[in-house]
């Protein structure tokens, strides 16, 4: 099908309608009760960013405490420190990284990218946001009701015996689980039912494949977490004896339940990130994505295999040797689809025209850091080396390379990439890039030393530590503050653009996916007429037009495939 030149869509910035989703209605109620996926996405974006800020403050406090081997900063005692790492982990996972890309960027982008006017169930979508808010309130309540000191994993029997606010926090996580299920369900149904004519499965941009894979995990795995947390609450309140060995329960059973959700949840965190990276690599190399089908299928493979590897968190738990061996083997099998993606992204850059705009800086950071995160996973998947590394800083470094180096970088890349679309403003490209490089250096300085101290034997979750690890901890703390500075500059660049940023064209980067065909910011119902769907990676269909300051679509003679 040839892409038809449509003046209303293709002309971009100059005659974009005055009416957009931001100005469509006014007043706080128009936001609080909105059913518009874009507004819900923006509210999520503000929410998850605030959660990230809170989790980041906890992180800086605990890194400051670890600057010296003994007590370092006043008021941070053993107990306080234990609360800090717990809250850092819990806030970052449940409130930021799980909803981060799917609920904030996915909500905004998915329907437009698909060519739909909204998600399938707009009310459920709003409900999901309020559930997120409710879950966050329970988490904050836990802060004031005695804090939380179980680690974000809530391992039994410790979580049954501690007198901190475990019930409030688990209730929070339970509610957040529903928020996540609602989002996932909505996305699955949207992708199945609201694709416009021409949007076949294999014309879907890879971001959609990734979000779709993620949604499957969200819907299938999250209920297990819900049940597990219910059982934990029942155990604490009524002493039913499921996990408490004193009552005939089994504390290790809890770990199976917990990781049955939380390992797939790792893919809830990383799959959408991979989706974002696919978009960025293609757009900023001005090349069609290399190996589209392999990438799409590897998203699904990761989503499914991700369910079968939870036991690799428990190699030292006393689980049977048989299950340790099976879980180790399965773990290696998930490494393959991830590696496939990395090679495909690299091949996408080949013979391209690579721009180092801010989103691409983050995408390249992702590639670098995720490679390290992935390769260090091999040490943890191998049984005998995992015995040495389990529960040390090596693991801490590994999952931060994957979750922060991976997901956070992609989140930032995505925010900068779609910012002109979301807000209609262009940000300061120079400072955006500076921030990205500071983040990159700060990140490596924070987490690389942690690999070394971990394999040398430094256990995680330690308030005091032996002097032999002091050098590594000092570097790590300095890196953390540098990372903090970089992130603040990035935030400042974005906020400044709201005030003084130039008006964004419809398609500033020259992408070929549908969200760039509507104006920036998009009108209330996205498209005035159903858009014509072409190849999402046919970048030759857009050309730069200096008059617009952005790209415009040209009629392409024939589709690429």
């Amino acid at each position: 099908m040839a892409t038809i030149l449509d003046p209303a869509i293709g002309a971009g910035g100059e005659d974009s309608p005055v009416d957009n989703y931001l100005t469509h209605t006014h007043g706080w109620k128009s936001w609080a009760f909105t059913l518009d996926h874009k507004r819900i996405g923006m509210m999520y974006l503000v929410g998850v960013t605030s959660a990230f800020l809170l989790g980041g403050i906890f992180a800086l406090l605990l890194r400051a405490e670890l600057f010296t081997p003994g007590p370092t900063i006043p008021l941070v005692s053993h107990d306080m420190y234990n609360q800090l790492f717990t809250l850092h982990g819990a806030v970052m996972t449940f409130l930021f990284i799980i909803p981060g890309i799917p609920a904030a960027q996915g909500n905004f982008i998915l329907p437009i990218m698909l060519g739909a006017k909204d998600v399938a169930f707009p009310r459920m979508n709003l409900c999901s946001f309020y559930l997120w808010l409710g879950g966050a309130v329970f988490f904050l309540a836990a802060l004031f009701l005695g804090g939380l000191d179980t680690g974000w994993t809530f391992y039994t029997p410790y979580s049954i015996t501690t007198n901190t606010a475990v019930v409030s926090a688990t209730m929070g996580a339970f509610i957040l689980g529903f928020s996540s299920i609602f989002t996932g369900l909505n996305f699955i149904v949207t992708v199945h039912t609201l694709r416009p004519p021409g949007m076949t499965w294999f014309r879907m941009p890879l971001f959609l494949w990734a979000i779709y894979g993620t949604a499957i995990i969200q819907v299938l795995a999250t209920p297990v977490l819900g049940i597990t947390l219910m059982l934990l609450m029942a155990e604490r309140i009524m002493g039913i004896g499921i996990f408490d060995p004193a009552l005939g329960g089994d504390p290790v059973l809890y770990q199976h339940f917990f990781w049955f959700y939380s390992h797939p949840a790792v893919y809830i965190m990383i799959l959408p990130a991979m989706g974002v990276i696919s978009e960025l690599m293609s757009t900023f190399s001005r090349k069609p994505i290399f190996g589209y089908r392999f990438i799409a299928m590897s998203s699904l493979a990761i989503a499914l295999l991700g369910f079968l590897v939870w036991g690799h968190h428990m190699f030292t738990s006393g689980q049977s040797q048989m299950s340790a061996i099976v879980f180790s083997a399965l773990t290696f099998s998930v490494a393959i689809p991830s590696a496939i993606k990395v090679f495909n992204w690299l091949a996408t850059m080949y013979k391209g025209s690579i721009s180092l705009a801010t989103p691409m800086c983050y995408a390249l950071s992702f590639l670098f850091l995720f490679t390290i995160g992935g390769l260090t996973g091999l040490y943890l998947g191998s049984l005998s080396t995992d015995i040495q590394l389990h529960d040390t800083y090596f693991v801490v470094a590994h999952f931060h390379y994957v979750m922060v180096g991976g997901t956070l970088m992609a989140f930032l890349g995505g925010v900068f990439y779609w910012w002109p679309k979301m807000t209609g403003k262009l940000y300061d490209e120079f400072w955006g890039q500076i921030a990205a490089w500071i983040v990159f250096v700060g990140f490596n300085l924070t987490f690389f030393p942690q690999f070394v101290m971990g394999s040398r034997g430094m256990p995680r979750r330690y308030y005091n530590y032996l002097p032999e690890f002091e050098f590594y901890h000092k570097m790590s703390t300095i890196g953390a503050f540098l990372l903090g500075v970089g992130l603040f500059i990035a935030l400042w660049v974005l906020l400044k653009s709201l005030k003084s940023g130039a008006k964004a064209p419809a398609n500033p980067w020259g992408s070929a996916t549908l969200e760039w065909q509507c104006s920036s910011p998009p009108p209330h119902d996205n498209f005035s007429h159903t858009p014509t769907v072409g190849d999402p990676y046919d970048l030759e269909s857009t050309v730069y037009d200096p008059k617009l300051g952005g790209y415009k679509k040209i009629a392409s003679p024939a589709p690429a495939h």
């Binding site: 496939i340 495909n344 391209g352 049984l383 015995i387 529960d391 040390t392 040398r456 995680r460």
Partner: protein
């Protein structure tokens, strides 16, 4: 809440080891390390390859005005299959090596020497063949040792980096771990499963003796705290002080008047104190004995009921020594 530094005095880091890994102190270490370095080699290869390509592409294909991207294929099934399948073969090797050395680690040889391990918040107790318990792990060199471990409260995990061994210590069941030490000297043992307030202070010293004879000699001396080196009886308070440090009371009770997790021992004996249920109780011999054997019976006001019982670990004679020690702390 008290937040002082750890009271544990670590042995100086053992010389040796590599950039990534500590000294090799057991028969398993060389095997684990060789797998570690094998994976490092493979990782470095791929890392250099990937980063090298990124940098090369960035330089070669950076965006310049007037230069368009050059056409290249959008997929190449042979290429894609080969970069999926070839690395997988390496993964199989990795898995296999991890698997064989793991089986070895988990299968104690027959006739290994057994030491029982009791973990509780936040101390370790190693009980030797003659029934004597110590907070330090002593083993002879070149003898396979099996630790039979259980916990009295929450999950802990026993980790000796120099030996490359780690195993969770779970309440309500026994887990096992074995090793064969090859280096004489002192090493550090860590708790690596988060277990509450003083998790990071739950360390112990591992002492490897040169021979079984030397180890036996140590055990004989250690198991008789009531007699000193010259065979003379020790003052009771001094023995009590030894129990105070060796049985982990020191983690929660101070002797300088400050409150830690539990009340201080200084100047408490003979005083009258309020319990959480409001009653007044005199801190006398009976109360102390009950506090040690059945800590939940009466709980001091202002403290949480977290003290573990020492039933079966301290004999009446030992409790007598602790009482004498408490009396001496005026």
């Amino acid at each position: 809440m008290n937040d002082d530094a750890s009271t544990f005095v670590a042995p100086p880091p053992h010389p040796g080891g590599s950039f990534w890994l500590p000294v090799q102190g057991s028969t398993k270490a060389p095997e684990v390390d060789s797998l570690f370095h094998f994976i490092t080699g493979i990782s470095l290869f791929f890392f250099v390859l990937i980063v090298g390509l990124i940098v090369w592409f960035l330089i070669q294909y950076r965006r310049r005005p007037g230069i368009e991207p050059q056409p290249s294929p959008h997929h190449n099934t042979v290429l894609e299959l080969s970069w999926s399948i070839l690395p997988s073969l390496l993964l199989v090797v990795m898995f296999y090596r991890g698997f064989t050395s793991y089986m070895d680690m988990r299968t104690p040889p027959d006739g290994a020497m057994e030491i029982n391990v009791n973990a509780k918040k936040w101390s370790w107790l190693f009980t030797y063949s003659n029934g004597w318990g110590e907070p330090e792990l002593h083993v002879p060199r070149d003898v396979p040792v099996t630790l039979v471990m259980t916990s009295e409260d929450v999950i802990h995990s026993l980790f000796i980096p120099a030996f490359r061994v780690k195993m969770d210590v779970v309440p309500g069941r026994y887990t096992k771990l074995w090793f064969n030490a090859t280096e004489v000297g002192e090493f550090t043992l860590f708790c690596t499963e988060y277990c509450g307030t003083r998790h990071s202070d739950m360390l112990a010293k591992v002492v490897v003796h040169d021979s079984v004879a030397e180890y036996q000699q140590w055990l004989e001396k250690a198991s008789d705290p009531y007699t000193d080196q010259d065979g003379q009886p020790r003052p009771l308070a001094e023995v009590g002080a030894m129990f105070y440090t060796k049985r982990g009371c020191i983690q929660c009770h101070s002797t300088d008047g400050s409150a830690k997790t539990g009340p201080t021992f200084k100047g408490t004996f003979g005083t009258t104190q309020k319990m959480t249920d409001g009653t007044d109780v005199v801190i006398d011999e009976n109360y102390v004995r009950e506090s040690i054997l059945n800590p939940m019976a009466k709980v001091r006001g202002g403290f949480r009921p977290v003290m573990p019982t020492f039933q079966g670990q301290l004999k009446d004679q030992d409790i007598g020594a602790i009482i004498a020690y408490m009396k001496s702390l005026k």
